[in-house]
């Protein structure tokens, strides 16, 4: 139906609603309940983590990886990583991931205007050199990793990013290849008033 058209992205706070039973629905073990309590960052995303808690070892490792990539010390700025996350989420059409990480990007950069344009106009919207390089690289990696070539790294180098920083941006975009696929295919973002986003 509307799956082919571009989704309407928002910076509003959404809830995530699962399409199948979470461990809360079927009776969580104490191990599952403890893990969900530890890793769920907000009440609106609790059901996402309560769903992933069906597979405890995977959720543990994935959470460690996510935190290392998005919040680990040194290297690319936190805002660079959030920008790569937003670019990947826009390309994949993940409304929920985009809403969360666009808010974080806007908070970190204090640039709500650019963030809103990315959501409204898409990844082609006008950006400064560093942001342009990060978005273009993340978009290419999201769409067609096999086609990635050294020429795709050149703009990042010209914008002054080091190899570890480029690895950080790669990791953030790749992490959202993972996160988007879970968020988009196991449930959906919903406005708190209950209207599907």
């Amino acid at each position: 139906m509307s799956t082919a058209s571009r989704p309407r992205f928002t910076m509003d706070v959404l809830e995530w609603h699962p399409w199948l039973e979470t461990v809360d629905d079927v009776g969580a073990t104490s191990e599952q309940a403890e893990l969900v309590g530890k890793v769920a960052p907000s009440p609106g995303s609790r059901s996402y983590y309560a769903l992933l808690a069906h597979d405890v070892p995977t959720l543990r490792e994935r959470t460690g990886l996510f935190n290392a990539i998005m919040y680990g010390p040194g290297g690319a700025r936190r805002s660079d990583r959030e920008l790569a996350a937003v670019a990947a989420s826009l390309v994949n059409g993940c409304v929920y991931c985009t809403s969360v990480h666009a808010r974080r990007y806007a908070q970190l950069t204090k640039d709500t205007e650019t963030t809103k344009r990315l959501l409204d106009d898409g990844v082609e919207t006008g950006l400064a050199e560093r942001e342009r390089a990060i978005v273009d690289y993340a978009v290419k990696l999201t769409r067609d990793p096999a086609a990635l070539s050294p020429a795709d790294v050149e703009p990042l180098r010209r914008a002054g990013l080091s190899a570890p920083e480029i690895l950080d941006v790669t990791q953030a975009a790749a992490m959202f290849a993972w996160a988007n696929r879970l968020m988009q295919t196991l449930g959906e973002g919903v406005r708190p008033d209950g209207v599907p986003s």
Binding site: T3, P7, W19, L20, E21, T22, V26, L51, L52, H54, D55, P57, T58, R60, E61, R62, G64, L65, N67, A68, I69, G72, G74, G75, N92, G93, C94, L141, T142, P145, A146, L148, S149, P150, D152, V153, R157, A163, P164, I166, L167, D168, T170, Q171, A173, A174, M175, A177, W178, A179, N180, R181, L182, Q184, T185, L186
Partner: protein, 180 residues
């Protein structure tokens, strides 16, 4: 930590590192040193690989089924090294030429795989190529093929992890191909 700075994380932990193997990273090379700057990412990526492809308790999704899915992602994303790895692992678990060919050329109704395997591979194609087209009906199809909610979470995590892995490998590849 300082005394082990020049060792790869895999050597430090005495464990395997699938991404390093797949990327063909030699110990002591610039690529190895680059990855060593992000030890937590290396450690948890390998932990994710182990949890999904070498689980202590495979629960409802067999190792064979996991290899079928991983192989399919390698094929769909044009990642020959990834596909070769899972082809070999599937063979080691008793996979036949006919089964391997069915995964390579998977198409609804023409697969020669079980209905459960067919449903998993159909979902693999959807999540890998068009995640945004997913609807609740796709979850219902997996349930109708006998997958439990836990099985569905595990298969989804595996497909999504593989999507991560092929992109990390692409990034490491272009960084190694950059002109000096």
């Amino acid at each position: 930590m300082v005394s082990t700075q020049n060792q790869s994380t895999a050597e430090r932990d005495g464990g395997d590192d699938a991404i390093s193997d797949l990327a063909g990273i030699e110990p002591g090379s610039p690529q190895a040193r680059l990855r060593d700057e992000r030890p937590d990412a290396v450690r948890f990526a390998q932990g994710s690989y182990s949890a999904l492809l070498e689980p202590e308790d495979p629960a409802g999704v067999s190792r064979r089924e996991r290899e079928l899915v991983a192989l399919r992602v390698g094929i769909l994303t044009c990642a020959p090294g990834v596909a070769a790895r899972h082809r070999a692992r599937l063979r080691a678990l008793g996979g036949t030429d006919a089964e391997l060919a069915a995964v390579e050329r998977f198409q609804d109704g023409l697969s020669g795989l079980s209905p459960r395997e067919t449903a998993m591979l159909r979902h693999t194609d959807l999540l890998t190529l068009q995640p945004g087209a997913s609807r609740p009906e796709h979850i219902a199809a997996l349930k109708a093929a006998g997958l439990t909610p836990r099985d569905i979470v595990t298969v989804s995590q595996l497909i999504a992890f593989m999507s991560y892995e092929v992109r990390i490998l692409a990034g490491l590849r272009v960084l190694s191909e950059e002109p000096a």
